[in-house]
Amino acid sequence: MLRYVGKRLLMMLLTLWVIVSLTFVLMVTIPGSPFNSERGTNEAVQSNLEAHYNLDEPYIVQYVLYLKSIATFDFGPSIKQPSQTVNDMLGRGFPISFELGIITIIVAVISGVTLGVFAALKHNQIIDYLAMGFAVLGISIPNFVLATLLIQQLAVNLEWFPVARWLSPTHMILPITALATGPMAIIARLTRSTMLEVLTQDYIKMARAKGLAPWKIICKHALKNALMPVVTIMGTLLAGILTGTFVIEKIFAVPGMGKYFVESINQRDYPVIMGTTVFYSAFLIIMLFLVDIAYGILDPRIKLHKKGGK
């Protein structure tokens, strides 16, 4: 187990290094200095600015400085809003995005698993077809389309929910629905197919033969094993939800990190784009690592599998 964790940890650090270096290389290759604006700055001012941000040093020194600043969680300044740093934006925006993301995951997992289990239990019956039809729709409709549909129908026409912003629980319902539907559909399909497989296993027959209550068989014996693949794709889903927050926050005017990120892309505010990408990538890579470890702990078979170098 320790060996496995150590190996994953090494992989994680390597991945982190790749994304940080990639960001650095891209930043350096952008034509012109970040201070070359259309208005044109005084040359003395410009060289002072460059010295201030160490842009006059050779690349290798800049690289080391960059690695150092990332390691100390300093993601640099914003050029378009000089009074702000990326850290300021993260501090304000990230908690809101995090809240949105966490609730979305919880909603997606609970509803997805429930839907999948019911579909599997009523295999080839009307509930199964309805649930899977719903799931295919959920996978096919992009979240931004769903979001606009929800706003148009439920917020504008019926006036059940507020159109946008992030103030009270009722404001959260539409963005979370729009964001959670896709992952929910994926989880539902996965749960259904593994559940169907698990239900034919001998130990389930055994439990049935012993006269255990059906709900107990499903919750305690079948579901435990059927959920393993869901744990595996958790990392991918997380990445999807996280990037999904960018558009959802834009559409619903949620003041989260995604909004700053999209703004910084539109204004080509490179340090903010780079800083945010590095932060989010690091966040995701660490999450993936944790998911892997959790999987190793939950599934005793994993040690055998991993030895083959799979």
Binding site: T15, I19, V145
Partner: protein, 321 residues
């Protein structure tokens, strides 16, 4: 287990030893029926196709995609309207005889633009799938076939790339390279091929130990030829499925990027650009400007997804009847 013999006339059980010989009758054999082949022997691909045709949902997707491709090629040519020509007096016309899908904020015909968008979205999706396929097959095939140290190193590289968040890397690359059709496809494939390579490698690992590969090897066949002639044809099933799933994810990614302002740039129209441009107009009631591109994005993704699912079942040799 003992079989119980029942006297049909008296409806009571009879001991096995007491069964009269008269009960046994020679079964008539029809020589012709025995000789006849019950079913023409099918090749793997014919059988897969036969099963795919039986899957109604997958066929719906397939037919939709064929129609979509035909329309994407011919509709813009036949349409009397120009894609990017603005006609401001005719702004926001609802769907009508002249404008089947209505007009948008610039008075442009949404019908024409939708099919132009289909061209770009399909092109991005297919190119991404094709490039992933090429790189994935070469990399995965080599890694799986060589095995040992080479495989180990190649797999570690893949693991690192696999850990990178896909869309974030795409965004990063596009911000620097500047959005255009070429750079979008490039950005989508820079890390996109990893999934394909993993699948190919897994398949090759499985198949390379079969006897026919060994036989080929003992004849002194070159590595590249073994990979091309022996291994790849037998790994095609999962690869095709993966390709049908790459296309919708690339189309989705393109639409997503358009939303961030990193998609195809105006005046070109992709579905994502059209949907993004009409976000505001839906609140003012011009629903058609959003509905048609959104519908086609969703239905194309749906079609590819069900086709992929259908292919997965059809190409699985275990399910062969």
């Amino acid at each position: 287990m003992k079989t119980k013999w029942v006297d049909q006339a008296r409806q009571e059980p009879v001991q096995a030893s007491e069964v009269p010989d008269a009960w046994f009758v020679w079964k008539k054999q029809d020589k012709a029926a025995l000789e006849a082949v019950s079913r023409p022997s099918l090749s793997y691909w014919k059988d897969a196709w036969r099963r795919l045709v039986q899957n109604k949902l997958a066929m719906t997707g397939f037919v939709f995609l064929v129609l979509l491709t035909i329309f994407a090629i011919f509709a813009p040519i036949l349409s009397p309207y120009e894609v990017n020509k603005q006609d401001l007096p005719n702004q926001y016309q609802p769907p009508s005889q002249e404008h089947w899908f209505g007009t948008d904020n610039g008075g442009r015909d949404v019908f024409t633009r939708t099919w132009y968008g289909a061209r770009i979205s399909l092109f991005v999706g297919l190119m991404a799938a094709l490039i992933d396929f090429t790189i994935g097959i070469i990399y995965g095939g080599l890694s799986g076939y060589k095995g040992g140290r080479t495989d180990h190193i190649m797999m570690r590289i893949i693991e690192v790339l696999y850990g990178l968040p896909y869309l974030l890397v795409v965004i990063l690359l596009l911000v620097v390279l500047g959005p255009s059709l070429g750079t979008i496809i490039l950005a989508l494939t820079v890390t996109g091929w990893v999934g394909m390579a993993r699948i190919v490698r897994g398949q090759v690992l499985q198949i390379k130990n079969y006897e026919f590969v060994l036989a080929s090897k003992s004849f002194g066949t070159k590595t590249s030829r073994i990979i091309r002639k022996n291994l790849l044809p037998n790994t095609m099933g999962p690869i095709i499925v993966q390709m049908t799933l790459t296309v919708p994810s690339a189309i989705f990614a393109e639409a997503f990027l358009s939303f961030l302002g990193l998609g195809i740039q105006a005046p070109f129209a992709s579905w994502g650009v059209m949907a993004n441009d009409s976000l505001g107009s839906i609140l003012s009631g011009h629903w058609w400007t959003l509905f048609f591109p959104a519908f086609f994005i969703s239905f194309t993704m749906f079609a590819f997804n069900v086709l992929g699912d259908g292919l997965q079942d059809a190409l699985d040799p275990k399910l062969r009847k």
